[in-house]
């Protein structure tokens, strides 16, 4: 059974990102908005516990964030 603490990997679709920075606010270790092009990208290994990943996916207004793979 997959639990909420299991690590998953997240990614940003740069076409869809509208640059609101909600991801960066919620998970500053994982996402960063580029100030010039105003597009978010993953700055870490992209790993987050599943329940936190679900929250950013849910809150991203551009529907630009997805869980690309489960780890462990």
């Amino acid at each position: 059974m997959a639990g909420g603490d299991d690590l998953v990997r997240v990614a940003v679709d740069r076409e869809l990102c509208i640059g609101g920075g909600i991801c960066e606010m919620l998970e500053p270790e994982v996402f960063e908005l580029d100030d010039d092009i105003v597009i978010s990208s993953v700055i870490s290994d992209g790993l987050l516990p599943r329940d936190r990943a679900d929250v950013v996916v849910d809150r991203c207004p551009g529907r630009a964030i997805s869980i690309v793979e489960g780890v462990s």
């Binding site: 509208i18 640059g19 609101g20 920075g21 960066e24 606010m25 919620l26 092009i37 105003v38 207004p61």
Partner: protein, 424 residues
């Protein structure tokens, strides 16, 4: 639509503007939420699908490829094609235009960058509150709720202080244009454009366009560290923004945050005055301020709906909807949906977890790409206001009935008397 014709008969009317003089007709929305599927609501010569439950508002908002913002209009009525083109702003676009335009301004409004305006917001708030206290109270809308947001946005745009009064005046005329009474003639401010081609059918829009054009020329020669200079830079590169997009963006930025934030602050005052025990909870534990601000936004729902247009035949909530149909997301209803908000008709300052910054209420829209650009700015303004009131142990007491806007779109309060009482 045939299968749902039974519902047509029973659909309670929620668009009659005069209903809103008494407040949001919540009993009617509660009825609508209980109708299975979507309710067809007659409007003018046609009608729209009323989306009133939280789950479906969210779905429509987050499925822009099926529910377009660029077709027809995002208000209840359609605009003629030439008027829509002339008036089209960020709000009335779909990707990829929306993404391109939104990114031009998004950077200034991220949670991180909005925090840089905190001291400005606080200074303006303190000045307004002190003046309100010195006068022993008065019209809360005129003295606090209206000036706070407009002064903040003019600061961000870089409008010189000496012009602020003029832009406030224009903004007030635009507010009139959202209702059905205009107090200025069509040729006011030297306007020669047909009114239907101007946002809010208002000659004040012409004046605002002219002002934006003047600023554009100035900032082109002498760029500053402000939002207009940033836009002008993008406009000089036609790929990024056209001249028409620039002027509609300038107009939107001046206007979008004003009536909305003033409405939130007005209903916030009403709710706190009507629920002194809830405000006392905040005074006793200021860590609740963030949650209280979210509850005020949910409670107020300043923008009561937005419309989308269906791009291809599909189904929503088990109801068949056809290409070209209008779909209206009633945020005012979703924000009272008992399926999501326990005891939804109770004003509860502790409803939202502290520190959960992007809550489940739909005051800023249903969470799709058009999610309010100014959401974190508006939150900052409401939060700082509550902080400064709490610091002074200020309690509000209502001294007159609110005069409400005759509008099914903005939950506006035109005036309401308040006085200050210091907590025991």
């Amino acid at each position: 639509m045939a299968a749902t014709s039974a519902a047509v008969v029973d659909t309670p009317n929620v668009t009659e503007p005069s209903l809103y003089l008494e407040g949001i007709p919540h009993d009617r929305f509660t009825q609508l939420r209980a109708i299975p599927g979507l309710a067809w609501h007659p409007y003018e010569d046609g009608g729209f699908w009323a989306v009133t439950r939280h789950a479906e508002v969210r779905y429509v908002s987050r499925t822009p490829e099926q529910f377009s913002s660029a077709i027809g209009h995002t208000n209840l009525w359609d605009l003629e094609a030439d008027a829509l083109e002339a008036r089209r702003s960020l709000i009335d676009t779909d990707a990829p235009d929306h993404t391109r335009l939104r990114r031009l301004v998004a950077g200034a409004f991220t949670p991180k960058n909005i925090r840089r305006w905190e001291e400005t917001v606080r200074a303006i708030t303190i000045e307004l509150l002190d003046e309100f206290a010195a006068q022993g109270g008065g019209d809360w809308v005129e003295m606090v709720a209206a000036p706070l947001p407009i002064q903040v946005i003019l600061n961000m745009l870089g409008v010189p202080v000496e012009d602020a009064d003029y832009l406030v005046e224009l903004s007030n005329y635009l507010v009139e244009g959202t209702g059905d009474a205009q107090s200025i003639p069509p040729d006011a401010f030297g306007n020669t454009t047909e009114l239907r081609l101007l946002p809010f059918n208002s000659p004040a829009s012409h004046a605002l366009f002219e002002y934006g054009e003047g600023m554009r020329q100035q900032r082109q020669d002498d760029p500053q560290d402000d939002l207009v200079s940033h836009l002008v830079q993008a406009e000089s590169d036609d790929e990024r923004m056209s001249r028409s997009e620039y002027r509609n963006m300038f107009h939107l930025l001046v206007f979008a945050g004003n009536e909305t934030t003033r409405t939130a602050i007005s209903h916030g005052a009403l709710a706190l005055a009507a629920n002194p025990d809830e405000w006392q909870r905040v005074l006793d534990d200021p860590s609740m301020i963030e949650s209280a601000a979210e509850e005020i936004l949910r409670w107020a729902t300043p923008v009561m709906h937005m419309r989308r247009t269906v791009t291809a035949d599909t189904e929503l909530a088990g109801t068949h909807i056809a290409k070209g149909d209008k779909v209206v997301m009633w945020y005012a209803s979703a924000n009272r949906d008992e399926a999501v908000f326990e005891d939804a008709f109770r004003f509860d300052v502790g409803r939202f977890d502290a520190g959960r910054p992007n809550s489940d209420h739909f005051a800023f829209g249903g969470g799709g790409p058009h999610l309010c650009l100014g959401a974190f700015l508006a939150r900052l303004e409401v939060t700082v206001l509550l902080e400064e009131m709490a610091k002074r142990s200020i309690c509000l007491e209502q001294t007159s009935e609110p005069v409400r806007a005759r509008s099914n779109f903005v939950h506006g309060v035109l005036s309401v008397g308040m006085q200050l009482r210091t907590a025991q």
